[in-house]
């Protein structure tokens, strides 16, 4: 659990973060959105003390983060940034091993962890471990960047626009990968983004910042249904609202009994994907299969339309 309490930061006369309080529950993904200059990156960097706060308190699992030296704190928190920040003179394996080496793990344990992470991120160790960052594609570099951040098994992972430099197709794959990783390790993830789609698709909760103030901190559904201020409303975008509402719910949540013929859709797909499939095929309902490929029911157009309406 991360407790942020009345935290402020100013540079000279400019207030960057203005008295922000919020609690991030364990094992959640929280996305921080806002326009550039809203203070979202500064807020993130105060959690691992890359930026020193002026006032307030930040507690990680009850312990104030100023109780230990900054560099030790940062070794215990994962950190991934836009443009990956890989060390260009180190191989992929050495990059991933950075924090475990700083922590003094023995080499066998490090090698095993590097292998595990490379496999997890679909990079064959035999092929990629000894490559250098410049020999990888943008998407691969980004995956190595996240793998490096997770190497020392941190409880908390901070991400600053990690997918900002990726093109749209690789970006959506990267999001899916991140969700899979999150399901597997249960890491608490705090991610800064300026992309509302990304915030809605990934966040259990979304924090909306503007000019250093926290405008709203709530679930995606809440933010879409009841934006706290006109600015939050405009960030969400009126025309996009119903689709965003559909994009963070899963087919598994709305599946109803009944058997149908035809191409089935995965129960892990978003309602938005299901709607697209229905519109494209011109049907009223689709069969749904689960992870084992077994058909477990169906999803209907009426249900989807119901979910796209403004929640009461």
């Amino acid at each position: 659990m991360i407790e942020i309490e009345n935290v402020s930061k100013r540079y000279g006369d400019r207030i960057i973060v203005d008295d922000i309080s919020m609690v991030i529950e364990p094992r959640q993904i929280v996305t921080i959105v806002g326009m550039s200059g809203s203070g979202k990156t500064t807020l993130l960097r105060m959690i691992n003390r890359l930026v020193q706060r002026d006032s307030g308190a930040i507690r990680l699992d009850g312990t104030d983060n100023e109780m230990i030296p900054g560099y030790l704190l940062r070794r215990s928190i994962g950190y991934a940034i836009q443009g990956d920040g890989l060390f260009p003179h180190r191989s992929v394996a050495d990059n991933i091993a950075t924090v475990p080496r700083l922590l003094g793990w023995d080499s066998q344990r490090i090698a095993a962890r590097v292998d595990e992470l490379l496999n997890l991120f679909q990079l064959d160790p035999a092929l990629y471990a000894e490559r250098f960052p410049h020999q990888l594609s943008g998407g691969q570099r980004q995956r190595v960047g996240v793998a490096r951040a997770l190497a020392a098994e941190p409880n908390v992972l901070l991400m600053d626009e990690p997918f900002g430099a990726l093109d749209p197709i690789i970006r959506s794959k990267a999001r899916d990968d991140l969700l899979a990783i999150h399901r597997r390790f249960g890491t608490t993830i705090v991610m800064v983004t300026h992309d509302m789609d990304e915030a809605v698709a990934l966040g259990d909760k979304i924090a909306v910042l503007d000019a250093g103030k926290l405008l709203q901190y709530a679930t995606p559904a809440e933010i879409l249904a009841r934006p706290a201020t006109p600015l939050v409303d405009s960030l969400v975008g009126k025309a996009e609202k119903p689709f965003r509402l559909l994009s963070f719910a899963r087919v598994a949540d709305v599946v109803e009994p009944g058997l149908l013929d035809g191409e089935a859709i995965s129960d892990q797909a978003s309602l938005r994907d299901a709607l697209a499939e229905l519109l494209w095929s011109g049907k009223d309902a689709l069969p749904v299969h689960n992870g084992d490929g077994r058909t477990i029911g169906r999803v209907t157009m009426a249900t989807l339309l119901g979910h796209a309406a403004r929640p009461s």
């Binding site: 890359l50 924090v99 960052p133």
Partner: protein, 402 residues
């Protein structure tokens, strides 16, 4: 008409011979040297003015013809667009040929039993060397060989030259007479030359890298230090060596033990210090530039991973700045090897001793005995360090994508 058309068709069928722009210049140089410039100079004794002797008069006809054929063939290779390895080989072969012919001319021109007559390479010889060394370099740079291969090639060429000299290929030439008269001091001054050049460079690295770090971290210090070093760099080298005499002389007299360490107003100590001062700017400036070139994202990542600032410096910033720092060291080394020559003026030793002796005695071959090894040393240092810099270069993702 039909014959003409047939001829044109034939010409189209043949691979087109195209003229190389640099090659035109090189071929013209070689042609002029062959037709009009004296190949060697003949002097009745060491200091009288000499007479130019053409290639045809300097050698037996057979050898002169062979030499001319090799040179013309080399010039054609230069003139026409040819593959790089052919250019490199042709340049090298002609150089070896010209080198051997010059040595041979010594044997032919000096009358039997004459101990005073001197033969030296003349402008024609040097023009051949210039033209075909450029041809070889042109081929070499177009081949874009790997660093290790380039250094190996350099070692090979040096071995050939040293081997030929040891076998006596140039024994009849004046420059080798000068060498034989002072063989011991040639090697001693050579050792001194290297000691001064490398020693002052090492001292500049030991002092300059920490200074560069300081400049990198403390903005006000950076301006002060770089301005001071820039000012030092503007002092002419002659003046700098002169300026050292007074303070070091004072130290030698007044500081106990200083003169026992070899510190005197003249000699190697002031030369060393002057070279050291000149070396500081390239080392410091390149350290600063190298560190400044490390991307902000990489630095942020290093800190965000939990590195202390020393770990960040040693594991990330210095390795990434290293190639740029090496570029500074290359500048220093090549610059120092040249500058040491002037140190001879204040008794610092080195190959400059022969240069200044030669100027004093109007004996140009003695000047060459000092100048040629200096040029060769600087050239070798440049090639070896360029290879090192290339080997140490860390490619970034951006470079690869562009």
């Amino acid at each position: 008409m039909a014959a003409l058309a047939g001829l044109m068709q034939r010409r189209d069928a043949m691979p087109r011979l195209r003229v190389d722009k640099l090659g035109v210049l090189l071929a013209m140089l070689a042609a002029y040297a062959l037709a009009a410039a004296p190949f060697v100079t003949f002097r009745a004794n060491r200091i009288v003015p000499g007479d130019g002797v053409s290639l045809w008069d300097a050698l037996p006809l057979g050898w002169a013809v062979i030499g001319a054929i090799v040179i013309i063939a080399g010039a054609l290779v230069a003139l026409i667009r040819t593959p790089p390895h052919l250019r490199l080989t042709a340049g090298f072969v002609v150089l070896v040929c010209v080198f051997l012919l010059a040595g041979m001319a010594g044997g032919t021109l000096i009358p039997e039993g004459d101990k005073l007559a001197r033969i030296s390479p003349a402008s024609g010889f040097w023009l051949f060397v210039l033209a075909f060394a450029l041809l070889a370099t042109d081929g070499l740079s177009r081949l874009a060989l790997r660093p290790l291969l380039r250094v190996t090639l350099l070692a090979l060429v040096l071995a050939v030259v040293v081997g030929a000299l040891a076998l006596g290929a140039w024994d009849k030439l004046s420059i080798m007479s000068e060498y034989r008269n002072r063989a011991d001091s040639f090697w001693a001054e050579g050792a001194m030359h290297l000691k001064l050049a490398f020693g002052s460079m090492a001292a500049a690295v030991v002092v300059g890298v920490p200074l560069g770090l300081l400049c990198h971290r403390v903005q006000p210090a950076r301006n002060a230090i770089l301005t001071a070093l820039n000012t030092i760099q503007t002092i002419p080298s002659m003046a700098m060596f002169g300026l050292m005499i007074a303070p070091l002389g004072w130290i030698a007299v007044n500081v106990p033990g200083a003169s026992a360490l070899g510190i005197r107003g003249i000699g190697a100590a002031p030369a060393f210090i002057a070279l050291f001062l000149y070396s500081l700017l390239p080392v410091v400036a390149n350290t600063v530039a190298g560190l400044a070139g490390v991307s902000l994202v990489v630095r942020d990542a290093a800190r965000g991973m939990g590195m202390t600032w020393v770990q960040k410096l040693v594991r990330v910033e210095l390795p990434l700045a290293f190639p740029v720092m090496l570029t500074g060291i290359r500048i220093v080394l090549v610059q120092n090897i040249g500058l040491v020559t002037i140190a001879a003026l204040i008794g610092g030793g080195g190959y400059g001793v022969f240069v200044f002796q030669g100027i004093g005695q109007m004996a140009m071959d003695l000047v060459l005995l000092g100048a040629i090894p200096t040029v060769v040393l600087a050239f070798c240092a440049a090639i070896v360090l360029d290879a090192l810099i290339e080997a140490a270069w860390v490619p970034t993702a951006q470079e690869d994508e562009s």
